[in-house]
């Protein structure tokens, strides 16, 4: 458990101790044990009992790593990027490193972590809009992409036009459009505002519209980023009901959020990411308690973030 800010996250320590440990940029071997398998989590233990646990998961990630090229940073800031590139002196930032977990059917799986922890990058990989630099993700079932509040909307277009665009992007059959639009109208209760440009919407209205669009197609795996934080109590209640109905229909729901009370209320399992690495996976109450302790400890150590950031940078 994390009582004080740790420079090396728990999994990193575990990985170093393990004989299977590999550099983060190397693909993980098939026998690599995910962090999740060793977590004190009933559903994980059950899954680990099978010959191939990933076979029973809707999403399983193993040794996942994503790195971005760093631009304009480093000791040679004065040098233009082209020269750095020609001299092969590019620096990298590991947004995710050695991330392993699995999400089962009928499960609402929440991901928590501070800003810059790597949550959004993880969602991009799951949505297949970003390919990893290490490890792999197996996704079993259809997935319409992930939804982040307000993103994807064309502000100059009306609510209806944005719905049509989103339904086409999510490959909804054209014959179903009318039915889906009725469903969205009923859920959002935006009425005449759906004819107005989305730029004129409040954050709550955008959240309602975004959530309704994301959930109307009922994908096998629903991925959302911070979508149900905005909005009033009535919306949050409706969103909760809809999420619960989706998980009941054998679907996996993956949500990234900062809203810890919501995690405790809706999550069946939680993964906490810090510095691009998995810190804990398991029971929501337990993981949230650890996370809160960590956040409190970090507040007392102003140099922690800089140390973690430095650890994530790979120099040539």
């Amino acid at each position: 458990m994390v009582d004080a800010p740790s420079i090396a996250p728990r999994d990193a320590v575990r990985a170093q101790a393990s004989p299977d440990a590999l550099p983060p940029d190397a693909p993980q071997p098939p026998g690599h044990v995910p962090a999740e398998a060793s977590a004190d989590d009933p559903s994980t233990s059950q899954a680990a009992g099978h010959a191939d646990p990933a076979k029973h998961a809707v999403v399983s990630a193993e040794g996942l790593g994503v790195r971005y090229t760093l631009y304009g940073l480093g000791q040679r800031r004065h040098r233009i990027e082209l020269v750095n590139r020609l001299m092969r002196q590019r620096r990298y930032f590991w947004a995710l490193r050695d991330v392993s977990f699995q999400v089962n059917a009928n499960e609402s799986f929440f991901v928590i972590g501070r800003n810059g922890a790597g949550k959004s990058t993880l969602l991009r990989v799951l949505a297949d809009t970003l390919l990893p630099d290490a490890g792999e993700v197996r996704v079993r079932g259809n997935l319409t992409g992930f939804l982040s509040m307000g993103l994807g909307f064309q502000p100059d277009l009306s609510g209806y036009e944005n719905i049509a665009l989103a339904l086409t992007l999510m490959k909804a059959p054209r014959v179903e459009h009318a039915e889906r639009i009725r469903d969205i109208e009923a859920f959002t209760q935006l009425g005449e505002f759906l004819k107005a440009p989305v730029a004129t919407y409040s954050a709550g209205m955008k959240a309602r519209l975004g959530f309704a669009i994301a959930t109307t197609l009922e994908p096998d795996i629903l991925i959302m980023d911070e979508i149900i934080n905005a909005g009033d109590e009535q919306f949050r209640e409706a969103a909760r009901t809809r999420l619960q109905a989706m998980t009941a229909k054998a679907r996996g729901v993956i949500v990234c959020t900062h809203n810890l009370p919501q995690v405790l209320e809706l999550a069946q399992r939680v993964m906490w990411i810090e510095g691009g690495r998995v810190q804990a996976i398991g029971d929501p109450a337990e993981v949230v308690r650890e996370y809160r302790q960590f956040a409190k400890a970090v507040k007392a150590d102003p140099t922690h973030d800089l140390r973690v950031q430095q650890e994530r940078i790979e120099d040539p």
Binding site: Y71, L151, G152
Partner: protein
């Protein structure tokens, strides 16, 4: 569970660069053709969403553009080696400016595609080739409106339709192929280099003056004519002028060469685009991370 299994890994990036993937990609693209139409419709609405005159701007834009050049042209009336240009100046200018506008708008929009759609690209996976496709369609609609203005002006000047006008749709299709072939490499390079994106407007401006729009090919120095022949847009503009001003069909040899070069360019550009696609999202992410 009988749901399809998808594996997202490092190897997948390599697989997506093969020719086999390219063939499958084209089939995938076919299934997303409706997205081209939807995106194009939203782009069209967005272009006029905040203006009072709405769709009328699609005709005003080329007219105002031409009016500016016509003013300059009349002030400093150019002469050919043999004398003045004998065609009505306005039609001469419109037949150059309007087709060039289509190509240049498409190329400029191709360079800006990634910034405009970054939020969608990061959230949903779809064949990115629909994005230049949608831009091409949007600008194509605007071009058709402008072409209508050009045809009306041609008739107003007493240049009545000849049999050569029947070749206009074919010439339009060929012009479209040239434009698409130019758009794809610009889109790919813009995804990876913001420096290139900055160069595009200057390149288009240079292209404008290097194309015989404000002058005829005969006015170029002899040494420059073979170089000018390498410019595909010069042939495109000459073809429109042949049809509308001279009432004759475009030169078939020039048309055949243009068609062959455009098809090869388009195929190569599409393959390069598809090969680059796995890295485009990452390249865009770096700026938004």
């Amino acid at each position: 569970m009988d749901a399809p299994l998808r594996i997202i890994s490092v190897e997948e990036a390599r697989r997506r660069q093969t020719f086999g993937h390219f063939v499958g990609y084209l089939a995938w693209l076919w299934k997303h053709l409706r997205l081209v139409e939807t995106l194009s419709r939203t782009e069209l609405k967005r272009t006029v969403a905040k203006s009072k005159l709405y769709y009328l701007w699609w005709m005003f834009d080329p007219l105002l553009d031409t009016a500016c050049y016509a003013f300059l042209f009349l002030m400093f009336r150019p002469r050919t080696g043999t004398g003045e240009i004998d065609a009505p100046i306005l039609i001469f200018l419109l037949a150059g400016i309007i087709p060039f506008r289509w190509t240049s708008s498409c190329c400029a929009a191709a360079a800006a595609t990634w910034k405009r759609y970054a939020n969608i690209i990061q959230q949903v996976r779809f064949p990115y080739l629909v994005l230049p496709g949608a831009t091409f369609r949007t600008e194509g609609w605007l071009y058709l409106c402008a072409l209508g203005v050009l045809l009306c002006a041609t008739l107003a000047y007493g240049l009545w339709p000849t049999a050569a006008w029947l070749t206009l749709p074919l010439w339009l299709a060929l012009h479209g192929l040239v434009t698409l072939a130019l758009m794809l490499p610009i889109a790919v390079l813009s995804a990876f280099s913001s420096d290139f994106t900055r160069v595009v407007p200057y390149g288009l401006r240079l292209m404008f003056f290097a194309t015989p729009i404000l002058y005829t090919g005969d006015q170029l120095p002899v040494w420059a004519r073979p170089v000018a022949n390498l410019n595909p847009l010069a042939h495109v503009v000459n073809g429109y002028r042949a049809i509308l001003l001279d009432g004759v069909a475009p030169d078939p040899v020039s048309a055949t060469v243009l068609l062959a070069v455009s098809l090869v360019g388009l195929a190569a550009g599409a393959f390069w685009f598809v090969r680059s696609e796995p890295f485009i999202a990452r390249s865009i992410t770096r700026t938004t991370y």
